[in-house]
Subunit: 606 residues, 2 copies
């Protein structure tokens, strides 16, 4: 058993869930009426305990041991087996899933927020249950009753694993180019069964020894279907065939050709999978033919939210490592008192600044992710149709922000955590360097961050003819108008106003570019737009939290644990606005240049 | 022999050296009069060849094999031995060193710029010769004739290795706290010989099997000396004692206790060294007692410039990997033409943007580093005293910028290189993920980047009563005044003007903070000041290069290799100003907030 470095404090998580978000509203929904705040609190405490005692201690071991490949079979790090067992037996895997199939039926908000803990305890391990659940949900949503009966409960309860098989060697971002074929099998008793042939690459958890079976969801083109994304279908392809009575059949001709050596997440097997090399691989069509991309997008969207959760989990764990180290480590005097004694480095101004980046960054991400999951619950359970519909649009709008912003932001923040530890941070005893290696993949998978920026600009901005975005920005403006003279946060609301204006200016210009045929300016700047939008959104949430903390401070002793937490929250909200939100202005200045040098330069000059 | 991924193009390096910097002036100096431009050009070509054929192919091997430790002895990756042999036999190690002791006597400018190639080919390997040379130079500068005769040539020619031993477990950034003792030895025939006792940590190249001996330069306190940095002396401590006649004596009681597991530079041994555990370790005082910090600072300053060179080397290699991959890899159509065929991703707008970040970033770093080394040559060889003195101040001013800015910037840029390669970039086949791991140490060692920011603000800004900085900023203002209506770069000069103003505002405020006792605002913002200053400086150089390229374009065919290079340079200068220099405005906006939330927050809130 390795050393545990998972040391999350539950205070901010509980603040978000019980004080900031409208938990009473969630509890009023029929689906959640059997739960209470005490239940959720106990669940969080239990999750923290499992993370500290079971999952956390496997993180470094998993990194060092990694996965091993031999003759098509993959072994995960030894300690992962115990994690899997504990997660499965205690229902942690499918915390928010449908109880009909063995899930715990928790609100998405609770499940999403505790997801941060598991990802922060061991992200590499968490990929295995994460994919099994996402995969199971797709079958739950689109499968026949028979499919559901065969697969879903087994995936929610940890009996079988799952994958999503999109990428091929020649079709990554360009998924429509995929070559995997599905050949209708006249001999099959079920007309939905096809033969599958093709190679998938970079398949996370593509093979492993945690479960007796792995259910692959494979994108393939039925012979003769249209080229491009419109001719892609989705197939359930078990590693070992499952008979109609639920018993295991024969091996299904899915061969793992190798696993990748990677920068991080060494415990998560990244596989090349060959389907039907011997002509014996069978898959079951999920839903209608040629509807595969739309269905996969449901899983993809959930996975994109999951990316934000992973990024938050790793960054928050890096923050924990850094803040605890900084409280212990004694070096040199303060800049403002060079002749005094040496002090713990948490008192050093620049260390403090970096810790504030980490604190403000993680809390802002947690706020944004909490809001997103809360909108999911409202969208799924709210009786009022208009509110439900609106929440759905918010989910759509926020998803690319949570995916792309948190993953790049987390990478930058973990750099600060390494820096706080200094030379020790570069060495492997403490896991901050591992967090930096683990997090980097998240800006690439589930659609690169650029693809998510395009999704924001191309699909999300013009939802309801632009009214969703417009409604949000009007809300921010109203909020700043109400509080611009706040004695504590006045300057911050002024910054928020300006930053929201700058963010709005992006969309005005984009409209203009669309109209005037200056389309090329959009892909050159859309990652920046996504970043501006995210920072304004997070600043809005941080100020909401700051105002709330300010109010709560009236009722508590300033030196009590709660008092210190609320005072911390007030300063953190200010810090976010004055030091992170301000980045909007650089990106806006760049936007105003309408620079095309990157396209004007001759290709041969690179 | 591993795969070579070193693919540097020599064009920009030769542009900097032969077209941008005043190479004729350097050649006019007596010390360099035997060289010609052709010589330098041939030397660059040869260096590129050695990097491609000998050093480059060991980079990935070195990372995977790493160093091994057993019973005090350290083995470097096997392939490093051949690199060392080739470097030593061909005089590459001491390219710019004194020919009297076996150096090649090249200008610092040439040595510094080819240093980028070696670091970019295999940074981990390069630490061994780098430390041997820096160490030798210190002995050359401060040793007695006897010391010089015994050690210097052996270090310049690769017979012996070297280290700098500052850090101890309890004294990192706070080096004045060190505990290593030097005890005068009444039995020694030479009164400069002391017994050394103590433990040094994180000693790069502290033990290895590349050379028969390693000469450690050790900071220690002579018994009874003042506490703090003022009581520290510097000692030459050979791993194996060297007799006055140059023959090797007995082992000198220096024991390597372990080597660190690290994020990167696996081929570079990071050692804990125990000196005098058996009371038998001897060191020779270098220079006067209690003058150790000042002397070590000479090596430290050179090492800080070396940090910039390392960062440039790694970033430029990451850029090479990314640009070559992007030219080969075909995926999807352009954003502006969704129905067209798929194209090489170098044509994709966002990939192009990231490649421009890498191109503009590396060229700007190369310009800044070239300027710095050129000032060293001027400072050392210029006959005119005022010019010589001024160049010395420029060296002082630029050193922290080159150290701190390039290392953090490089880390951010390599992120883009990974992103260009996508999933492949996260895997270890291509070395971009290794560059990201290797570069991270450079922002920590040789004084963290924060320490370098303090050096800039505390020591460099007030050189000559502030006139050095003021002279520089006036020069920038004059430059922008002359070119603000340039038909090509007009908007860029306007941005440069504003950015220089913002940078100047930092110094005005700092003056104010000093006067009004608001000192605490300085360490909270000085890393940002350093970044602003660096970006303005680099923008200035990029615009100088852009103007020059524009002029040169008049004399060449626009489609020739030179024509394409110059056109590329013009666009790159614009890109830098419009997309990177613009970051100054976010930092300046943050500065204007004079935010103290990071200090106001209760420590317990972390």
């Amino acid at each position: 058993m390795g050393t545990n470095y998972f040391n999350r404090d539950d205070r901010d998580l509980k603040f978000v869930l019980f004080e900031y978000l409208d938990i009473e509203k969630l509890l009023s929904y029929e689906a959640y009426q059997d739960f209470s705040i005490e239940d959720f609190s106990m669940i969080i405490d239990e999750a923290l305990k499992v993370c500290r005692e079971v999952i956390g201690p496997t993180m470094q071991d998993g990194d060092r041991e990694g996965c091993t490949y031999k003759d098509g079979e993959v072994k995960v790090p030894a300690s992962f087996h115990e994690c899997w067992k504990v997660m499965a037996e205690n229902g942690w895997m499918a915390a928010s899933s449908n109880p009909e199939f063995g899930g715990q039926g928790l609100p998405a908000t609770v499940g999403g927020l505790i997801g941060e803990l598991f990802a922060g305890a061991n992200m590499a391990f968490q990929t295995y249950p994460g994919l099994a659940i996402g995969n199971g949900r797709l079958i739950e949503n689109f499968g026949t009753d028979e499919d559901k009966a065969l697969f879903v409960e087994k995936m929610y309860t940890g009996v079988w694993g799952g994958t999503m098989c999109l990428t091929e060697p020649d079709a990554g971002t360009d998924v429509g180019w995929l070559r995997t074929k599905a050949i209708p099998d006249p001999e099959a008793s079920d007309p939905r069964v096809c033969k599958i042939e093709g190679t998938k690459q970079f398949i996370t958890c593509g093979n492993h020894d945690l479960t007796e079976n792995i259910i692959h969801l494979v994108l393939a083109r039925i012979e003769g279907a249209t080229p491009g994304t419109k001719g892609i279908s989705l197939f359930i392809v078990p590693k070992i065939w499952v008979n109609p009575d639920g018993s295991m059949g024969e091996s299904n001709d899915v061969y793992c050709g190798n696993i990748e050596e990677k920068m991080g997440i060494h415990g998560s097997a990244t596989c090349t999978l060959n389907f039907g090399e011997n002509g014996k691989c069978r898959g079951i069509l999920l839903g209608e033919p040629n509807s595969g991309m739309a269905k996969m997008f449901q899983m993809m969207n959930e996975a994109r939210m999951g990316c934000g959760v992973q990024a938050l989990g790793l960054t928050a764990s890096a923050y924990d490592t850094a803040r605890l180290y900084a409280k212990e480590r004694v070096q040199g005097p303060l800049f403002t008192n060079r002749d005094a004694d040496r002090v713990p480095i948490i008192q050093h101004e620049d260390v403090r600044r970096m810790l504030m980046n980490l604190k403000a960054g993680t809390e802002a991400m947690r706020a944004m992710i909490g809001k997103l999951f809360c909108f999911i619950d409202i969208h799924e359970h709210e009786p009022d149709e208009a509110t439900r519909e609106d929440a759905g649009f918010q989910v759509e709008l926020f998803t690319p922000l949570v995916k792309a912003y948190c993953t790049d932001f987390g990478y930058r923040l973990i750099r600060d955590a390494i820096q706080v530890l200094g030379g020790v941070g570069y060495c492997s005893e403490f896991p901050v360097e591992q967090y930096a290696r683990d997090i980097k993949i998240i800006s690439i998978w589930e659609g690169t961050n650029y693809i998510n920026s395009l999704d924001l600009v191309g699909r999300k901005l013009n939802m309801k003819g632009g009214k969703v975005f417009q409604g949000w920005i009007e809300g921010v403006m109203k909020f700043t108008g109400e509080h611009q003279d706040d004695p504590d946060f006045g300057p911050d609301f002024k910054l928020l106003f300006k930053a929201a204006q700058a963010t709005g200016d992006f969309t005005m210009r984009y409209l203009d570019y669309f109209q005037k045929g200056k389309l090329h300016l959009i892909p050159l700047s859309c990652t920046r737009f996504l970043e501006c939008f995210s920072e304004v959104l997070m600043a809005q949430f941080m100020l909401e939290q700051g105002l709330l903390a300010h109010e709560k401070l009236q009722g508590v002793d300033a030196e009590s644990a709660d008092g210190i937490f609320y005072r911390g929250k007030v300063e953190t909200a200010k810090y976010f606005c004055r030091n992170i939100l301000t980045n909007v202005f650089a990106r806006h200045m760049a936007l105003q240049q309408e620079d095309t040098s990157a396209l004007d330069i001759p290709e041969e000059a690179f």
